[in-house]
């Protein structure tokens, strides 16, 4: 494998990782505040749908290269709206968080495809749109391998990488992050200190909708160009896995997301390796999932979930 192919492999890896990075960062916001979010899959679906539709109409209105950004904005808005269902059920009505997350997955699958058929004359897929173009960063993109791999990517990929660092900083170095984490670890103590538990949790869940929405948008605006029933197909669950694998830490989740992205990218390149001819392709596809389990067994061990994860907050039970 030559250096150029290596750069392309790195590039494809990042393209596939981007959506997972956004969604798992979203999951971290929600779960750090103490609300399980099994609905990431549905929230990504909302985002992918909104981006496809918003992007299509913006392109139609002649907005040119700004159209995908309109798509992203729509995805953020719809993601937040979708996450509110989860927030209302699980925070205000204290229902089981796993259940209301599952509700999101169902409502998203149903309503997005229903809307697609309604808006586009019974078609099962949105019309193809242009989406984002790759942007080469002057100078840096000339570095061998890394230039081709990292500095010649979609704007969403740059955004994802920047957000990993920003969110790490916000979560661990700012008062807001401290409050969010406190609410997920020990809500009654946080309440005693004057933190509004439910309000923080609403913010956490809404941020998860926002981020997962962008994640879904990335898929339609960089990889598929359309939204249909199999646009997301399990990415949200992989994002959950990435979040847990990364121990609810943005840097860890980033690493895990890149790992899963690599596993998707390697399929496009696997025939370039001479040794791969003797191994059935299924085993190569399996590697990341088996490896994840092995890494968990060997190194990571017990998951460090936020202590109050999954428990509705009831002030009377202090």
């Amino acid at each position: 494998m030559d250096l150029q192919t290596l750069g392309q492999l790195l590039n494809t890896t990042l393209v596939f990782s981007t959506a997972l990075i956004f969604a798992s960062l979203g999951g971290i916001f929600s779960e750090r505040s103490g609300v399980v979010n099994i609905g990431l899959e549905g929230l990504m679906m909302f985002g992918a749908f909104a981006a496809a539709v918003g992007g299509y109409y913006a392109q139609d209105a002649g907005m040119g290269e700004w159209a995908p950004w309109i798509g992203v904005l729509c995805a953020m808005a719809v993601g937040v709206l979708g996450s509110l269902i989860h927030a209302v059920a699980s925070i205000t009505f204290k229902s089981d968080q796993t259940i209301s997350g599952t509700v999101i997955n169902f409502l998203a699958a149903g309503s997005t495809l229903y809307m697609v058929k309604l808006l586009f004359d019974g078609s099962a897929e949105t019309p193809l749109i242009d989406g984002f173009n790759k942007v080469a960063i002057p100078g840096l993109s000339k570095i061998p391998v890394i230039g081709e791999g990292i500095f010649n990517s979609y704007p969403t990929t740059y955004l994802a990488i920047v957000l990993v660092i920003v969110i790490y900083f916000v979560l661990f170095k700012t008062p807001f992050g401290l409050r969010l984490r406190a609410v997920g670890e020990h809500p009654s103590a946080a309440d005693t200190l004057g933190v509004k538990v439910n309000r923080m949790r609403y913010i956490g869940v809404m941020l998860s909708g926002l981020m997962a929405g962008i994640g879904g948008a990335t898929i339609t605006l960089t990889t598929t160009g359309t939204f249909g029933h199999n646009t997301i197909s399990g990415q949200g669950f992989i994002a959950i896995a990435a979040m847990i694998f990364g121990k609810w830490n943005p840097l860890g989740a980033f690493g895990a997301a890149v790992f899963f992205g690599f596993s998707q990218a390697i399929r496009n390149y696997v025939q370039l390796f001479e040794w791969s001819k003797d191994i059935p392709q299924e085993f190569i596809f399996m590697i990341p999932y088996v490896l994840t389990v092995i890494v968990l067994v060997a190194a990571v061990g017990r998951s460090a979930a936020p202590k109050a994860l999954g428990q509705p907050y009831d002030p009377s039970k202090r």
Binding site: I240, P280, S303
Partner: protein, 357 residues
């Protein structure tokens, strides 16, 4: 009679019922917003399922794997675990049943079929058991392991079918001689693909109930699910219970897989993507409030709605995806019982007043 009346007026029965009504209402509103006629659509849905024997039989066929995967997810839930991996366990069960059915085809049917079903169940159980074991021994979150195992199961099944069982030139296995079909019922139902898996599913529901509520082991399992720390303090082996619960959960899912390949398709395809049985199972388990009777009823409801949704799109042009909105809303209202209680409040008030009079 009084006892009967009491069953249907307690909260746990009223709330699902009201949730179902509210779910249908939400669906109707969504249809009206989309410019469709909800009455035509809903009546087409039910006519498709109950209109003729063939479709009714097919709807029952559709309910069968839902019951088993619903039971699988519910059983794990009762023991304090979230089994997202029913999908993979179904695939492993399918593959095991296919392998046994094809490779041991020389055996007489009355040995071959039960053998294939049992091995499918055991393999599904062992597959889920991996996640249980890793949780018990290493504290690894079962959500992540079961998601990973779903993918591994998908590729492993595809590999086994492609490498050992392939019908030349096709993307599926050879035909399986072993069969769970109920021939006498098939002809009765106009060749609907009814099979013995339905009986297995109902038996599994009975087993679920008896095991969990009538045996000591079941009591331990519920105790561990309710509060693992208290259970451990009471001298129960939490780890062993976790593994056992996941195993039984996986057996249910594996049996669902056996029913699908031995009773419905009679061969196994190479899957392009996960077939989604497990995710339907999550919905069914939640709709059924993780109680075996509830799960059976929920599978009937879920199967009716999904099978009937095709009729809805023929007759009223409503996209069948609408039914997912209805199901999602029903689960939402069951989960957010506060909303349902709020809707019911005026009725409760009235009833109390009548009592005073």
């Amino acid at each position: 009679m009084n006892k009967f009346k009491k069953i249907f007026t307690t909260d746990s029965y009223i709330i699902p019922f009201v949730a179902i009504v509210l779910g249908f209402l939400v669906g109707a509103i969504v249809m009206l917003l989309g410019g469709y006629d909800p009455i035509t659509a809903y009546s087409a849905l039910f006519t498709r399922v109950f209109g003729n024997l063939y479709n009714f039989g097919e709807a029952v066929r559709e309910m069968t794997p839902l019951m088993l995967t619903g039971l699988a997810v519910a059983f794990a839930f009762r023991s304090g675990m979230f089994n997202i991996g029913a999908d993979g366990q179904v695939m492993i069960g399918m593959t095991a049943a296919t392998v046994v059915g094809i490779k041991f085809a020389a055996l007489p049917g009355f040995i071959l079929v039960p053998l294939a079903v049992i091995i499918a169940g055991v393999c599904g159980g062992l597959w889920a058991g991996i996640a249980g074991y890793l949780k018990a021994k290493r504290g690894i979150n079962e959500v992540i392991t079961t998601i990973m195992l779903n993918w591994v199961a998908l590729y492993l099944s595809n590999y086994i079918v492609r490498a050992f069982l392939l019908l030349p030139g096709q993307n599926r296995s050879e035909d399986i001689p072993a069969s769970l079909s109920m021939t006498f019922l098939n002809s009765l139902f106009d060749n609907a693909r009814l099979h013995w898996g339905t009986a297995i599913a109902l038996a599994a529901a009975v087993f679920f109930y008896v095991y969990l509520w009538k045996t000591k082991q079941g009591y331990e399992m519920r105790a561990v699910g309710y509060n693992p720390h208290a259970a451990e303090y009471a001298g129960m082996n939490v780890g062993r219970n976790v593994v056992k619960a996941m195993f039984i959960s996986g057996v249910f899912a594996g049996l669902a897989g056996a029913g699908e390949v031995l009773g419905v398709f009679h061969y196994q395809s190479v899957f392009a993507a996960s077939p989604g049985y497990g995710f339907d199972g999550i919905a069914v388990a939640l709709l059924g409030l993780t109680h075996p009777l509830g799960v059976v009823l929920a599978a009937i409801l879920y199967g009716t709605l999904t099978y009937g949704s095709a009729g809805m799109s023929f007759a009223a042009d409503v996209p069948p995806e609408l039914i997912r909105i209805v199901i999602g809303s029903i689960i939402f209202f069951i989960a957010a019982q506060g909303i349902v209680r709020w809707v019911l409040k005026p009725f409760y008030f009235k009833r109390k007043k009548e009592k005073v009079l």
